[in-house]
Symmetry: C2
DNA sequence: TAAAAATACTCCATAGGTATTTTAT
DNA sequence: ATAAAATACCTATGGAGTATTTTTA
């Protein structure tokens, strides 16, 4: 392991500042006045800067102070460095605005396309307020991103497994059965009936896949050979008559418009899942995340298929 | 007068350095090791930086240290500032080479076109060595530039009037008379004879003008109405038969090739001028200027019309 | 003689060190 | 129990002050 891979210059920004002031004002006394320090203090700092750089910056003379050629070359670099330092200060002040920084929020793929658009709209309508960078990540990836700080919050159905996070419930949404339009079926669909059908599933890693499997109590053998990469594709396959499936309520309205499928409630009440938002304890944007939580909760309730839990 | 027009950030480059190390190594302990300081020292500096900027840079946790979003935004600026500081260090090291900086040398117009080319050639032939930025400035302007530091040295005929400068003689050069080719004249020209002719002069500000005037003891009234802006033009006018004039030795070889003029020595010995090089006392490039002085002195002696003073 | 920078010194804020405690898994 | 950061406390460097001297025109 390298011992001092990190090193900083031995001079200070203040020393550069003093040198620039001397060069611009043409004298140590005037520079000291402008910098608000005594002339000996400023002289000492400039002398120390010259010593550390081993470069004579000024020709001193009771009459006048002249920048040496070497000093002239360095002065531009001094100014560049000071500007960069000033930029840090400015940025830090800008960041005092709690809304200056967008929250990075991961949303699982079976929720993102249906929740993000109304959320964005609600945030836009609210005018000045939280800014969000949305990411579509599967549960595991989102958890990983949350714990290593790549995102500031995540929206999932499963309660996150990682520790040190605060979890807030956004709401409960029922599942709805979707069937090919031509299929014969009981009016409200029962889980028993569903289990006798070919149930189409998403690919591994989608929590909806696991939720559907446990819902229908499907043995491994009965799984359909298809592994769909997204809900729209899955709905399309149901519309084509390849099988039946289960949609979370939030997706129903959008997907029913895109493909010809029959949407039916379950005969049993309470079949659905809870959506949750999680962030790290002592996350710096907490107040902003709470605001966003409210926006998301309201966006959920806006959806006509998301009914209150019975 | 503005009281504190100049201000520097309250943080230090070292603090930025520490923050970058923590972000890159993912921990305070590792960062402290890499920076060669103790962990509490580094922690204290990072904490102070956060306090100064009023921005939480890291989420601390015994398990891991995470960069906050605000910290992520600032980190790039930290790096920029540190790079600028490092550039200062690099430049300062580069400037340790005494030849890294070109000397800015002013030469009067009646010398520059004839002295600079051989000097450049000699410097080039010497390979690594002094670099020079040449400027063609009239005596007064050159003196002004020398005293306010715009140039590092000047080459003139008149001894510079300003104080605090060291003056070195480069050599003495005779004057030569130039006459229209068809003109009748004594073989070596006498000052008395010259005074009876139309003597062409350069415009105001050229020392050669004043030298010629005093040489010929010309009353104001006898001046030719022409004010030539440069020696080549003046020679051209002599070639056209408009009058006679005086050339410094250094210019004779070049000008005689460009125009048809008769070149004659003066009958009186010791008519000429001394060329001098001057720089400010305690000029930082002094050793380099001494080298250049040698080059110029040799370049002068190379000229066949520059003979030793009798 | 006057103006400006350098020098001499004193003081205190603070960066850095060591030892220890806290914290979260 | 462990690993890592925070805390407590001490030391010493050095930045800033005042008073004075030096320097050069």
């Amino acid at each position: 392991m390298p011992m001092d891979s990190f090193s900083a210059p031995d001079f200070s920004l203040r020393q550069l500042q003093y040198a620039v002031a001397v060069a611009e004002l043409g004298g140590f006394g005037a520079a000291a006045k402008a910098c608000g320090v005594s002339q000996p203090s400023l002289s000492a700092q400039v002398a120390k800067l010259e010593a550390t750089l081993d470069v004579r910056l000024f020709e001193r003379d009771p009459r006048q102070v002249l920048l040496t050629p070497a000093g002239g070359h360095l002065l531009g670099l001094f100014r560049t460095t000071l500007s960069a330092g000033a930029a840090v200060e400015v940025a830090a002040r800008t960041l005092q605005d709690p809304y200056a920084i967008p929250a990075r929020i991961a949303v699982i793929p079976t929720v993102a396309p249906y929740l993000i658009p109304p959320a964005v709209e609600a945030l836009r309508a609210a005018g000045a307020g939280p800014k969000v960078h949305w990411l579509e990540l599967k549960t595991r990836v989102a958890e990983e991103a949350l714990s290593n700080g790549k995102v500031d919050a995540m929206v999932t159905a499963d309660p996150p497994a990682c520790s040190g996070v605060v979890v807030r419930q956004l709401g409960w949404e029922p599942f709805w059965a979707i069937l090919p339009p031509a299929m014969e079926h009981p009016q409200p669909v029962s889980l028993e009936w569903l289990s006798t059908q070919d149930v189409l599933l998403l690919e591994d890693g989608h929590c909806l896949r696991d939720q559907t499997i446990s819902l229908c109590m499907l043995p491994e053998a009965q799984e359909s050979p298809f592994r769909t990469t997204s809900l729209p594709t899955l709905v399309q396959m149901v519309a084509s008559g390849l099988g039946v499936s289960v949609l979370p309520a939030i997706a129903v309205a959008t997907e029913r418009e895109r493909a010809q499928v029959t949407v039916r409630p379950f005969s049993t009440a309470g079949i659905g899942r809870t959506l949750r938002m999680a962030w790290r304890e002592q996350a710096p944007l907490e107040s902003m995340l709470v605001e966003i939580e409210g926006v998301l909760r309201r966006a959920l309730l806006t959806n006509p298929f998301v009914v209150r839990r019975p």
